[in-house]
Symmetry: C2
Subunit: 196 residues, 2 copies
């Protein structure tokens, strides 16, 4: 069995974007693969009685500084979305429609960049199609699939799976059955991959 | 001006304990001093409409694993308190009564150990006196002072100062006017001290 790290994310989560920019390099260093698992963060919050961090105004202000610090540390661009909170539901369905969790990294990273660098709206089908086209996929076909029952069900199944395994926020990682929450736990994720 | 890092904490906060075990070494590496600033975390949560993380059951379960991971990383003992949430109010007053923020490190660390290693009750005056005696202070005199108006006011002033400067949780650090929140931001604190 090759090693794997599962990344549960919502395209609307800025810390998920930051983690996504790093996880492939981290996985590679351990000879591991990344399984990209979109989920619906709003449904996770509701099921776990958790809240989005930005609900607390002082925390929301702090987050802007904190996100900028991590972006500088990683050397990646970051621009706060003008439409926060961002609805990542359709983008999650697009990822599910695009293929197996191990095969959709380029699409996921392009979606994150669209939202957290270029301030585009991931609930706009035209944006989704354009982003998919940009990574060599058939944007029109994928956008045409996001209302399919099978696609909706698959995204819901990812979300239910995450909740059942203890997830309450994003990004969340699994190395085997070990859960790690937050972009700021990537060091622990890497340690678990080395040990695994 | 010698460099300084302010640590706003509540003895009832387990992540504050973890951070406290590391902050003096981090400060020393930058030739900086630590200003230990007790505050009342419950009052901070109330003023900022924030919530204790453990209010979300899934997050509370995860926190146990996360706290154990950091304790192992740091090589420090940790035992979850049997009385969580822990009321750190009297311990905060004791620290304020004991002297200037730069002079109370040994007492603060002993209080944290009493709660987060030895599972003692920091709302029990006998425990507080014993812990103070153990670091060479006059426990009886300090415990006798914790209901003084000046002591209560000083702890309240710390709390109000923290809230006014953007604090919404514990531990929180200031390097100059830069706020850092969480045991997991110690790397950023150290970087700010080196740059400062």
């Amino acid at each position: 069995m090759p090693k794997s790290v599962e990344l549960f994310f919502d395209v609307g989560s800025p810390y998920s974007y930051l983690a996504a920019t790093q996880i492939e390099r981290i996985a590679e260093r351990s000879g591991a693969t990344v399984a990209w698992k979109p989920m619906v963060l709003g449904a996770v919050f509701k099921a776990t009685e958790n809240d989005m961090p930005a609900r607390c105004p002082a925390k929301a202000r702090y987050m802007l500084a904190d996100l900028a610090r991590f972006a500088a540390l990683y050397g990646v661009p970051f621009k706060m979305s003008s439409r926060f909170p961002v609805n990542g539901l359709r983008a999650g369905r697009l990822v599910v429609a695009a293929g197996a969790p191990e095969s959709v990294g380029a699409l996921v990273l392009a979606l994150f960049r669209a939202v957290w660098v270029d301030d585009r709206d991931p609930s706009d089908p035209a944006v989704l199609a354009d982003v998919a086209n940009g990574v060599g996929l058939d944007g029109a076909a994928l956008v045409g699939a996001i209302d399919d029952a099978a696609v909706k069900d698959a995204l819901r199944a990812n979300t239910d799976d995450a909740i059942a395994r203890g997830v309450f926020g994003a990004p969340s990682f699994f190395v085997g059955d070990q859960l790690f929450w937050g972009n700021d736990r990537l060091d622990f994720v890497e340690r678990a991959l080395h040990e695994g």
